[in-house]
Symmetry: C2
Subunit: 84 residues, 2 copies
């Protein structure tokens, strides 16, 4: 059995307002960083998967994203997986 | 003036308990994914920086991370920056 590490990003869809990101963009101005714009905030998730092959690990990560980690109505996800 | 996109990950330090990650690890078992372990949950942040050079953009992102995006007591951060 091999062990894989998955790095997953879950982000709000572009079409959807990101009030937390908007608030942080505003704070950048107050912090003396007016050059920073369009902040968007999502989640970064790392996890370990035990699997025989990278393909099986990828399947497990897909299932985890769809069923638990991302809300497919409001978010999209991307990931990369590597053996550890 | 050039425009850069920064991808920033802010994660709880390894030494620090991540109760949200622990809860999600537990849910994986109930979801029929017992192969998934050691879930850790942090933030993924994207932002745009206007700057003359990549070095200046990097400095701005460092300042933003230290002052606003990460809590250096409990979290660490990493990023990459590319011109868009």
């Amino acid at each position: 059995m091999k062990k894989f590490l998955a790095d997953i990003d879950v982000m709000p869809l572009k079409e959807i307002l990101d009030p937390q990101g908007k608030a942080v963009t505003g704070s950048m101005k107050n912090l003396g960083l007016p050059e920073i714009n369009n902040v968007r905030i999502g989640r970064h998730i790392t996890l370990e998967v035990d699997a025989e092959t990278q393909e099986i690990a990828t399947e497990k990560v897909e299932t985890a994203c769809k069923k638990l980690l991302a809300n497919m109505i409001m978010e999209n996800y991307s990931y990369h997986i590597r053996e550890i």
